[in-house]
Symmetry: C2
Subunit: 334 residues, 2 copies
Amino acid sequence: MPATIRDVARLAGVSPSTVSRALSLPDVVNPATRARVRAAAEQLGYEPNRAARGLITGRTGNIGLVVPDLANPFFPSVVKGVQARARLHDVAVFLADTDEDAAAEAGLVRALAKQVDGLILCSPRATEEELAAVARETNVVLVNRLVEGVPAVTFDNEGGMRQAIAHLVALGHRRIAWVGGPKASWSSAHRIIGLYAAARDHGVKLVDVGDFAPTYEGGMAAADQVVATGATAVVAYNDLIAIGLLARLHTRGISVPGDLSVVGIDGIAMARMSRPALTTVRLPKQKAGEIAVELLLAVLDDPDPDTIIATRGKLHGELIVRDSTGVAPDPARP
Amino acid sequence: MPATIRDVARLAGVSPSTVSRALSLPDVVNPATRARVRAAAEQLGYEPNRAARGLITGRTGNIGLVVPDLANPFFPSVVKGVQARARLHDVAVFLADTDEDAAAEAGLVRALAKQVDGLILCSPRATEEELAAVARETNVVLVNRLVEGVPAVTFDNEGGMRQAIAHLVALGHRRIAWVGGPKASWSSAHRIIGLYAAARDHGVKLVDVGDFAPTYEGGMAAADQVVATGATAVVAYNDLIAIGLLARLHTRGISVPGDLSVVGIDGIAMARMSRPALTTVRLPKQKAGEIAVELLLAVLDDPDPDTIIATRGKLHGELIVRDSTGVAPDPARP
DNA sequence: GTGAAAGCGCTAACAC
DNA sequence: GTGTTAGCGCTTTCAC
């Protein structure tokens, strides 16, 4: 049975309102009283009941975080960032994993929306309309997704692809394969834009082998088609696909980077651990989570549309060169 | 501005209490009234405010989940399981990542405890006393940890190690190295117990190379010492260490499984993707999360100590044989 | 600077 | 079967 504000008030010999003030607006009460109240609160181990406070202030001190799939190592990083930053602000985080199920997502969002001050949404698959609708009903920050009028923190997907292509071109590659991810995803679209722009600028040939699941298995499935293109290098939609490529290429006796160079995107921990270690564009995932929290809190304090538009983050990726692109292409190959 | 119970009451032409009853105890109100109330609620998009309800019922419909580090792939799996099962019961999940910081953990737990019905704790590092203290103040379910009188879902660590050793012995190994994890961890202690028991039973020699960080780097650091033991096989505290071993062994030109067989534990996704693919004992991590939720909910409904003791889960691991133990040891090696 | 009173949205007694 | 009343723990007028 936790102590209530009345217990503290009784012990300190003051009224509940004074306790409330002493704790949340310290400078408005007499220092002596404040000290007495503090001591009483301490002694009783008193912590204000957030639900009760929220009922009256309209602020719960909680935020919600929705991710599509925690099994994809991309998202735990984001969650960790959100978590860490939220704790700094003494805000608690509700987490929901939608299991890539757009329908479940809608329900979860509705349920969560009632008990939080705002929502951070990683929703690669939801439609713009759905997201805009949610944003109308509650405070929302989007991660790696841009929707008109909704604050968001995004990655510089185009820039990431440019770095990848520039790196491969510098190594001498002239024919580069692309293994796509989920077609509907926002980041996929933007990665492709950057990819083609870079290929055009460098005057190199891009061969699209199609869209695959953004998983290890997806990469395994894509590998043979990549080989068939005759490309000397391949860029994958994400690291998981790239690592799947590596595995299947090894099985087929194709040397990486000897016969084929491989580049991923995301910079998940696993990329360091693959064989050969994977060259990738590291996206600051945890940072994205942290910024999303700051953004959300800023919007809560000032829901002015101008603020919202001004507070968009665009995070740049960093090319990490590892062994999977270590060698120039064999000029004997077509 | 979301609809309140009074809005629904007004629209349906009944009192707020009737609305409340119609929604939570449907069979106690007249079917006709119930239908009217339901329609009104629907029309207004009414969802009861959980905070307000919790204030009076004493139940928030929320649970808290504390994990030490989301960057360790073990924990996202547990979180996913908790998440999925909680959603089934219409319970929301607060997530806290303590960043392996025991001090932060205490604070987080206190803060969370106020706004949840119960806590699921993955706290490999907290002391028994700390955990017992938390359990006295709030409803707690422990994961992969056993403390007197506290409901818990654990893995059969001993059994897992027995399977690993039996597998290696069957392949002909007689001298097996052990790379330990964090000394203070509960599962480490139990893995060691199973390990030595199995070694004794099979009459094989175990060589302990010491304790290492439960990470890829930890495995890299341990590899050379493993080689120096002259063992033909090595069991690691977890998959991350095992994968680190694989990497360093490859660098040194030591063939796995040709020269040395490697076994991990946990069964993280990455284990399939290593080269060679890692033989491991797969622990049902997601299942553990699911069961933890069921356990917690059961305890909430019936905080009787007998129930608590009866409701302990012990989950068995499953040996997954992959290439890292594919071949019998070379008899030429000592 | 502090206390009394009202009320956030909801449910649980208690009447009827 | 339904309405009225009271109150969960807290903050916030409004007096003083």
